[in-house]
């Protein structure tokens, strides 16, 4: 159907129900204003700050002058007092004797930035000039009354230029992006982006993409050989990182709360209790205690339960094929119960307002092993073998920008008197290949 300009349309996250020409026009206008504002400010800065310095360095005529007087000029700025050096000189241009209070090009133009808060700096400049002595000066050939005693560039002028340039950059990039979107359809943009990314999934009109697009790489999983079976699976989120994260959160939170807590306790000890502050601190202290408990739990899990190794007879997995799994649990505390599962999860990321949310839904679970972990002596790791049969209707592993289908082997252990633990081992599932026997 032909689509005209819609004024209003439904939207959730980045999803729209149709083309948003009005929205695109508004966004383009916003970025155009940003570009114009940046260009305007940049032009003003170039004209007011950079150009006078450049002219003084390149176009002013070198001459000589005699210093008649000198002073530290003062100026009020709100509650502050600002200073600058001023030197009165006399010089002759084309037989005409001229006098001027000057120092650098900013002083000559009476610019606000010629003043600074340091009186000592201004006085030190004056000390370099002696009344009655002759010095070099440079005057403007178009207006000889404009004269300077020093030339050069101020470094901070160039740093100020960065701000409007940043605005211009954002404005120009946004404008180009919107204009491209305006003229190029979503399908063509996707094609161009893919070609630019160099993924070579699309190599021209109608040519097929190689291998398994959207299936994650398997190399990270198959680069570690096993001791009993072909591959040793890498663990998903490392327990060490979880412990480090809990430690950081605990130290950061309790360190901050501790400062205020010490102040409150000191007040009580000194007989001047601040009850408002004490009551205010109570929920923060409780949260700190909770974080300590979380850290202690993580610490117990990491230190008490040793590493779990999971090995697989082949990888990637294919639907309908059978595999052998080897599981080994070492550590000072062998688990009372150990369970190994094959799980499949769908994950979807979406935006709600300004928040980005991720929802995970478990769509398949297969128990591969469930038994008592206390089979051997404490010095010998617990070991077991089991069989994994991939379901024939399994969706392959899938990963796109906002959605994914992930498969993993999950080890869950229970140790009496210790918190339960869980360790995940991601695996990749490729589509069934009728020409390949994976049994």
């Amino acid at each position: 159907m032909p689509r005209g300009l819609r004024i209003y349309e439904k939207k959730r996250g980045h999803r729209r129900t149709g083309p948003s020409k009005l929205g695109a026009a508004g966004e383009a206008a916003f970025f155009a204003v940003l570009l114009a504002a940046g260009a305007g400010v940049l032009a003003g800065l170039l004209y007011g700050l950079v150009l006078p310095e450049w002219r003084a360095n390149h176009e002013f005529v070198e001459h000589t002058c005699v210093v008649l007087d000198k002073r530290v000029a003062e100026r009020e700025n709100h509650d502050d007092r600002l200073y600058r050096p001023e030197i009165k000189i006399r010089y002759t241009v084309d037989g005409r004797s001229l006098t001027a209070w000057t120092y650098d090009v900013a002083t000559t133009g009476n610019a606000a930035n010629s003043y600074s808060a340091e009186r000592e700096g201004a006085a030190a400049v004056l000390d370099r000039f002696t009344r009655g002595e002759q010095y070099r000066c440079w005057y403007d050939p178009t207006r000889p009354e404009r004269v300077v005693l020093v030339r050069g560039y101020r470094w901070w002028v160039w740093t100020i230029l960065a701000l409007p340039m940043l605005f211009m950059l954002i404005g120009a990039a946004g404008l180009v992006c919107r204009l491209v979107r305006w003229h190029i359809t979503a399908e063509r943009r996707a094609t161009i982006a893919r070609r630019a990314a160099g993924r070579q999934l699309l190599q021209g009109n109608g040519r097929a993409a190689p291998d398994y697009p959207t299936v994650p790489e398997v190399s990270s999983i198959t680069d570690s050989p096993g001791t009993k079976l072909r591959y040793r699976l890498p663990i998903g989120p490392s327990p060490g990182w979880a412990l480090f994260g809990a430690l950081l959160a605990c130290v950061g939170w309790n360190g901050t709360v501790g400062v205020f807590l010490v102040k409150a306790v000191n007040g009580h000890l000194a007989g001047e209790p601040d009850w408002a502050m004490t009551c205010f601190l109570v929920p923060f202290v409780l949260a700190g205690v909770f974080l300590i408990a979380v850290l202690a739990r993580r610490l117990l899990l990491t230190a008490g339960v040793g590493p779990t190794q999971v090995e697989l007879s082949d990888h990637p997995l294919h639907p309908g094929s059978r595999y052998e799994v080897f599981i080994s649990q070492s550590g000072r505390m062998p688990p009372d119960a150990l369970e190994l599962q094959l799980r499949c999860e769908e994950q979807a990321t979406y935006r709600e307002g300004t928040n980005t949310r991720t929802e995970t839904r478990e769509v398949y679970t297969q128990r591969l092993y469930c038994g008592n972990g206390r089979k051997g002596r404490r010095s010998i790791p617990f070991q077991a073998r089991c069989e994994l049969t991939m379901p024939a209707g399994a969706m392959h592993s899938f990963k796109s920008e906002h959605n994914s289908v992930t498969w993993r082997l999950v080890v869950q252990g229970r140790v009496a008197g210790w918190p339960d633990y869980r360790r995940d081992y991601p695996v990749i599932v490729c589509p069934a290949d009728p020409t390949d026997g994976h049994e």
Binding site: H14, T191, N205, A348, Y364
Partner: protein
């Protein structure tokens, strides 16, 4: 003249196509005059539906411009053909669905456009029955 529309026909007129197999067909524009058309874009693509933001990737793309003489006549059958990839397979999950389609977008003068799409299934995944605990 009838309402502008895109009519897409797949050669084998099937719903399910095997991964790595050929997909061929043609399209016609109905209710559109040849001089109205600026360009026509044909894509074979997949996109996601469900809880998450929509992801989309184009597998095959053709663009025919009237200016460069690529575009002939709206009411004539305009063929397309591609070899389908191995993945992603069409999928009907709980919070995620992967759909495949042929989409034809005719860009008309004056900023108007006519879009039509024909869905198909890449592969055929049987329903996944979770093992009871």
């Amino acid at each position: 003249m009838s309402k502008p529309a895109v009519v897409i026909r797949l050669d084998q007129d099937r719903q399910v196509y095997p991964p790595g197999g050929a997909l061929a067909g043609s399209f016609r524009l109905r209710g559109v005059r040849a001089r109205e058309v600026k360009a026509v874009e044909t894509s074979v693509l997949w996109y996601t539906e469900g809880k998450g933001e929509e992801d989309m990737a184009v597998h095959a793309f053709w663009r025919a411009c009237a200016e460069s003489g690529d575009w002939a006549a709206p009411n004539r059958a305009n063929p397309f053909q591609t070899t389908l990839p191995q993945t992603p397979l069409s999928y009907d999950g709980a919070i995620l669905k992967v759909r495949w389609c042929v989409r034809v977008r005719a860009l008309l003068h004056g900023g108007r456009e006519v879009v039509g799409q024909r869905g198909f299934q890449l592969g055929s995944l049987p329903a996944l029955e979770p093992t009871p605990p």
